[in-house]
């Protein structure tokens, strides 16, 4: 199959890009491994108090359906349940799971998104120990309870919002606690670090964080607050958030039956008694990192920028890379929300259109500004230093990237 532009990843970035390209006269194929288009949008369901009134409830599944419907109506070929397992230059994408085995294109957009970081805790291989992203997908997309009683290990913006979603769906969440402190793993999820990470959640929902501390106080005095937080002091939607306890072990014969919680100091050192909590499910949350494997096989240079969530393809502010005809958009460039991904998708599409000798619905400069605007009003930040990360990338690109 031959198209002008191939896009890998049918999430918010990929679908938005496909629509923009198609609307400006070029042909597009989008490839995605999941059985339906939407990517991480599919699991998202939350309230955004800063959004315009008619967009206050963000129903990601509905957004995904609308984007996919619009793209298909324009004539975009969306391959779902199809794996892109190799890309070679100029561009040949080998796929499996479809009638055709290759898609060839003049330009390639990698919108492969992100993948969850694993959270190893003794017992984490037991059935019933699942990632927080899986919990979100099963709750909001498949409408299936991940268990009868759930403990969440890892307190961060994503796990808090999934906890609220599970509670709203009627699932018994026994609590949230920090992951265990394990020097061998180089991990450090201390109460002080965690409180800092939660600063932005204050803006997400009317919850105890806002009432008790507010954004300012959280940012300013994380250690102080962590010290102030006594056991079970904080409850969000009726669920105890144990900022001074960690999950040190997951137990069970053949599947999850309980977790062991132990108190920790403000710096995360375990102290004191171990308490056993009976649950049949543990959700593990350690954040996301960009999925770059296909980018790597194209010879695209990768740079490690922890502020963006890990190793990302070297790219310009216009979403182009050093590899001719290769563009990136969405979480592959750094971990941010769906609205930023959509703005990046549009921007990448306009850059692609210009690289192929035509133009999009706005200028590249205008589309870059739109990305900035989306970033400014984002309801939550997954990574607190994202702006610094973007700046780092721009500096490296200007020094070493531009072809």
């Amino acid at each position: 199959m031959k198209v002008d532009v191939a896009i890998i990843g049918a999430g918010p970035a990929g679908l938005t890009a496909a629509i923009e390209i198609m609307q400006n006269g070029l042909s597009v194929a989008v490839i995605d491994e999941y059985y339906r288009p939407g990517g991480r949008l599919l699991g998202q369901h939350y309230e955004d108090p800063n959004a315009p009134p008619d967009e206050r409830v963000w129903n990601g599944k509905k957004v995904a359906e609308q984007l996919a419907e619009k793209a298909r109506a324009l004539g975009v070929q969306i391959f779902t349940g199809v794996t892109a397992w190799s890309v070679s230059r100029k561009w040949e994408i080998a796929i499996t799971g479809a009638e055709v085995n290759t898609v060839s294109a003049s330009a390639l957009l990698l919108a492969t998104g992100s993948i969850e970081k694993a959270l190893p805790i003794p017992g984490w291989t037991l059935p019933g120990a699942i990632s927080i992203g899986a919990a979100q997908t099963f709750t909001n997309l498949h409408h299936i309870a991940v268990g009868k009683r759930v403990m969440i290990a890892g307190v961060d913006p994503l796990s808090l919002s999934v906890m609220i979603e599970m509670k709203n769906a009627g699932i018994d969440v026994a609590g949230m606690a920090l992951p265990s402190f394990t020097p061998a793993l180089g991990y450090r999820h201390s109460p002080a670090d965690t409180t800092l990470l939660l600063t932005d959640v204050a803006g997400l929902a009317p919850n105890a964080f806002v009432r008790r501390f507010g954004k300012f106080a959280l940012a300013r005095f994380p250690r102080l607050i962590a010290r102030t937080l006594r056991f079970n002091f904080l409850k969000v939607n009726g669920v105890p958030i144990h900022l001074r306890k960690s999950v040190v072990k997951i137990e069970g014969e053949g599947q999850v039956e309980a977790v062991l919680l132990q108190s920790v100091t403000v710096d995360g050192e375990p102290v004191g008694d171990v308490e056993r909590v009976e649950v049949d499910t543990v959700c593990l949350s350690a954040g996301l990192y960009p999925l770059v494997d296909l980018a790597q096989t194209t010879g695209c240079r990768l740079v490690d920028i922890p502020e963006l969530g890990g190793t990302v393809p070297l790219h310009g502010e216009d979403m182009s890379t050093q590899v001719d005809g290769l563009f990136v958009a969405g979480n592959i460039t750094g971990i941010e929300g769906a609205k930023v991904a959509m703005a990046q998708g549009k921007l990448s599409a306009i850059s692609i259109l210009e690289s192929l000798g035509t133009s999009g619905s706005m200028t590249v400069d205008k589309a870059m500004k739109k990305v900035e605007e989306a970033r400014k009003i984002a309801p939550l930040r997954f990574l607190p230093e994202i702006d610094a990360g973007r700046e780092k990338m721009n500096t490296i690109w200007e020094k070493e990237g531009i072809r």
Binding site: W85, S86, K117, P120, W124, G186, V292, L294, T297, D304
Partner: protein, 85 residues
């Protein structure tokens, strides 16, 4: 704790990886060659970030360990599908 599995695909434990580092492995491919970490179905997507954290904590934050290089095919593919291409 030490017998906790880190690489779920290949059943590689924390102690195996710590031993590999003690033997002198200072990169992810180095550990991979010694103990098969990241060589299973998921190709290190699950365990590589953990192993990387372990290396950084052992070797110091300023040492950037060499990461595993993704190879084609990036996902397990049936041979018949590869031949069809």
């Amino acid at each position: 704790m030490k017998d906790m599995i880190i690489c779920r695909c290949e059943g590689i434990r924390l102690s195996d990886i710590l031993e590999a580092i003690d033997e002198g492995a200072s990169s992810i491919p180095g550990i991979k060659k010694r103990v098969r970490v990241g060589m299973g179905f998921c190709q290190g997507r699950v365990c590589q970030p953990i192993v990387r954290d372990m290396l950084e904590s052992r070797l110091g934050k300023d040492t950037k360990p060499v990461l595993q290089r993704a190879q084609t095919p990036v996902r397990p593919v049936l041979l018949k599908d590869m031949i069809k291409k």
